[in-house]
């Protein structure tokens, strides 16, 4: 197979990893919102933890995006 075509396919497959990060981020913000609506007074205090979870989860999606970039713009 031609190398460029294989790299393009690989970049597409690498982007699948971002789907997992998307599920995780949806879970984090959904759970935060559900908790915040039950107890709005406690919501502000957990904002830092929300962002921390967001950052750690998002990093994994970014890693797969990075692999896709490396394959496309090599």
């Amino acid at each position: 197979m031609e190398v460029n075509a294989a790299a393009a396919i690989g970049a597409g497959i690498a982007c699948l990893g971002m789907g997992g990060a998307g599920i995780g981020l949806g879970n984090i913000f959904g759970s935060y919102l559900a908790g915040a609506l039950r107890n709005p007074s406690a919501a502000d205090g957990q904002f830092g933890r929300l962002i921390f979870g967001f950052a750690v989860t998002e990093a994994l999606g970014i890693f797969s995006l990075l692999i896709a970039f490396l394959l496309v713009f090599k």
């Binding site: 830092g48 962002i51 921390f52 967001f54 950052a55 750690v56 998002e58 990093a59 970014i62 890693f63 995006l65 990075l66 970039f69 713009f73």
Partner: protein, 253 residues
């Protein structure tokens, strides 16, 4: 890839020397990257200096902005690293302002984004992690290694938990630097790709010009998103720095 061939989305990240300088086989040229690091520091320092020069009891607009930034970072540090963490306030505040101003300056057209290069962000992350390691060993001696041994774990599980903790500690500088770098890189590439669509659609004639309104609107919306991302990534970088410093201050968790 037709649009990408005409408008090269990664051309904006190229580094070219402004003042060439070679010492002992090393390339120490003053590049456009160095120039924008200097610009970042000058803008941040000038803003903080000028806004707090009057030291009014009732702050004006500029002074409240810099006071807000100060309060924001000091609250963040106090919440995650406690009272003793405040000795690291100059480090965390400088990192936050540098990353924030570098990210925001990078959004201007034809400006170079310093934080879109992994060597810059890895330098910042290495500074944070080496501060954590050096301070942790200075303050606690070998007690710092308790960081890798969580309390209340059965002895048999230690063989599994300790390697995981060590690996998670070692991957911190990588994830801290790659997160910031990849976010800025991805955002700027996306902006350039959508701007490229405007150019290549306009070349198609009257219908194309009418259709190019859509990617233009998208580029405007993405710019707004990038302002948010710039701030969020600076915040995330500073928050994670605070949490890692907390490990150095209180290793037994």
């Amino acid at each position: 890839m037709a649009a990408a061939d005409k408008v090269d989305p990664i051309h904006q990240f190229q580094i070219h020397p402004i003042i060439p300088l070679h010492i002992g086989g090393y390339d120490l040229s003053f590049t456009n990257s160095s120039l924008f690091m200097v610009v970042t520091i000058v803008v941040a320092s000038a803003f903080l200096y000028m806004s707090t020069a009057s030291r009014a009891l009732i702050p004006g607009r500029l002074q409240s902005v810099s006071e807000m930034a100060y309060e924001f970072v000091s609250n963040m540090l106090r919440d995650s690293a406690g009272k003793h963490g405040m000795q690291f306030f100059p480090l965390v505040f400088s990192l936050f302002m540098f990353v924030l101003v570098a990210n925001l300056l990078g959004l201007f057209p034809y400006f170079f984004t310093v934080t879109s290069h992994i060597i810059v962000t890895f330098g910042l992350a290495a500074l944070v992690i080496s501060t954590v390691i050096v301070y942790g060993f200075m303050k606690h001696g070998f007690g710092f290694l308790k960081l890798f041994v969580p309390q209340g774990v059965p002895f048999v599980m230690m063989f599994l938990v300790v390697p995981i903790e060590v690996i998670s500690f070692l991957s911190r500088p990588i994830s801290l630097s790659v997160r910031l770098f990849a976010n800025m890189l991805a955002g700027h590439i996306t902006l350039k790709v959508f701007s490229g669509f405007v150019v290549s659609l306009s070349a198609l004639g009257a219908v194309g010009v009418a259709g190019s309104v859509l990617p233009l609107a998208m580029a405007v919306a993405l710019t707004a998103l990038e302002v948010l991302v710039s701030f969020l990534q600076a915040y995330v970088f500073a928050v994670l720095t605070c949490m890692y410093l907390n490990d150095a201050l209180h290793p037994s968790h």
